[in-house]
Symmetry: C2
Subunit: 287 residues, 2 copies
């Protein structure tokens, strides 16, 4: 595995591969890799000639009071995992490689980035879109993959790819869960034992939504969006100390606009503060 | 020459060329082609395998009180000129091809877009950057060319290309002038005979700046930025009815920040209203 630190180094390498007609896959990460990330590598590995994983904790997608400084890191462990997973190039830029100038051009994300996570993190998706567009440029990728855990991010990036006509195949990687059902996240490292217990409510809420929907379908009963939402909401432990709802929404899977009716693809998506940690999760009504 | 109207049609065609290892050149235009545009075609033609010229009057780069509705058009004449110039593909999209969705992602241009023309046209360069990024995506271009007449635009797009790591070779095409010295522009079509006479002052101002600089150099005299600016300004016919200065600046050729000292590359750049028409021009202190 080649480790490339400089932006210009990656650009010249990937331009050479593209000229030679190779397909290039990109797995962008912020490091501290877990099985969720590695499942994205495994998914894309057989689909492309050259597989690149980037490790870059991108400051522009963190808000001023967020966890940029404490975001967990494990450079050596990450590289070992990527090597074992058959990655060709690990791209590990410094801040000045990614943002070399002052007053740089940025991406203003599509409207769908203003909902859900965008409502409580107003600058987040501008940072994500900008850094991902830069990574697309540097990697010359034909394919890229993003986890469905960050479901809104996936849809925002798909919209960017479509609307800017970037022509990249954007893949969504299924959520990987711990045996308890907790969606894997680097931020789970922040959780105390009690918080980890409380955090199971996110996945539980999604399963309850699926069960209610499935039951209504079987009994051929109409289930309204509002009844589903009320039911899921009532199952969340919002009276527990340290648990606070950011949002719980039932949305169209592409536009992320509030669903008007329910179907198998309708997405249930939620964000919850557990202690100082903000956790997100989502699922389709039928997996 | 192939005429392609649909975005998806162009994208599939250019992806095929790129996979085959061809170089692709893009000449973006808003049509009503004159020798200025054709000189860009001539410049890029021998440098690339496939040459694409786009004709699209992009509404997002016009301000609300600007000349979008009256912008001159000549579809048939344009296609004949491109055919004669050896263009491979003329891309003539409709509005809905370029902007198919609501609430789309946009580019927020770099800081250097806020100066000069950006000060009086605050949304202009966001529109330019967004449409050009879309055209870059659709054309899969390895090379693109923009005229130096829109000098700030050229520098803004170079910054976008550099900062987003697009890896495109951006060429600047020298200004083409009428025998009178007036820089060619589709907007010259708006000028009355008297206005056309008055409009010669832009080029004259640039030549005066060059002569003053050249003379000072020969005599080894120091010439300050302020003295140069005052001299050029005093030569403009600002007391004439219908003539109004937008800006006259002496700037660093890359950052477009005000120059502190003068050298051969220092750029003199100005914008002037003549009647209802806004005209721009620029030159280096030594051509």
């Amino acid at each position: 595995m080649q480790i490339i630190e400089s932006a210009s180094g990656l650009l010249s390498e990937t331009q050479r591969y593209r000229r030679a007609g190779k397909t290039i896959g990109l797995v962008p990460t912020m490091g501290y890799l877990h099985q969720g990330h590695l499942s994205l590598v495994e998914y894309l590995r057989p689909k492309v000639d050259i597989l690149i994983t980037s490790i870059f904790v991108n400051p522009t997608q963190f808000g001023p009071s967020e966890d940029l400084d404490s975001y967990p890191r494990d450079a050596t462990g990450d590289l070992n995992k990527l090597r074992a997973a058959g990655v060709d190039i690990a791209f590990t830029p410094e801040l000045a490689d990614m943002y070399p100038e002052r007053g740089e051009v940025t991406v203003t994300p599509p409207t769908l980035a203003t909902r859900l996570c965008g409502a409580s993190r107003p600058t987040h998706f501008a940072g994500v879109c900008t850094v991902v567009l830069k990574l697309f440029g540097l990697s010359n990728c034909t394919d890229a993959i993003f986890g469905e855990k960050d479901y809104q991010q996936l849809q925002v990036l798909r919209a960017m790819n479509r609307q800017f006509f970037l022509g990249i195949n954007i893949h969504g990687g299924p959520i990987v869960r711990e045996p308890t059902g907790l969606a894997m996240s680097s931020r789970n490292a922040y959780l105390s034992a009690r918080e980890r217990e409380l955090a199971l409510c996110l996945n539980r809420a999604l399963r309850e939504a699926q069960q209610l929907f499935e039951g209504s379908r079987k009994r051929k009963e109409h289930l309204s969006v509002e009844r589903l939402r009320t039911h899921v909401l009532s199952g969340l432990p919002l009276s527990e100390v340290g648990v606070a709802l950011d949002y719980l929404d039932i949305v169209d899977p592409t536009t992320l606009e509030p669903a008007e009716t329910l179907n198998a693809d309708t997405r249930v998506i939620l964000a919850l503060h557990v202690g100082k940690t903000r956790l997100i999760d989502n699922a389709a009504l039928i997996d």
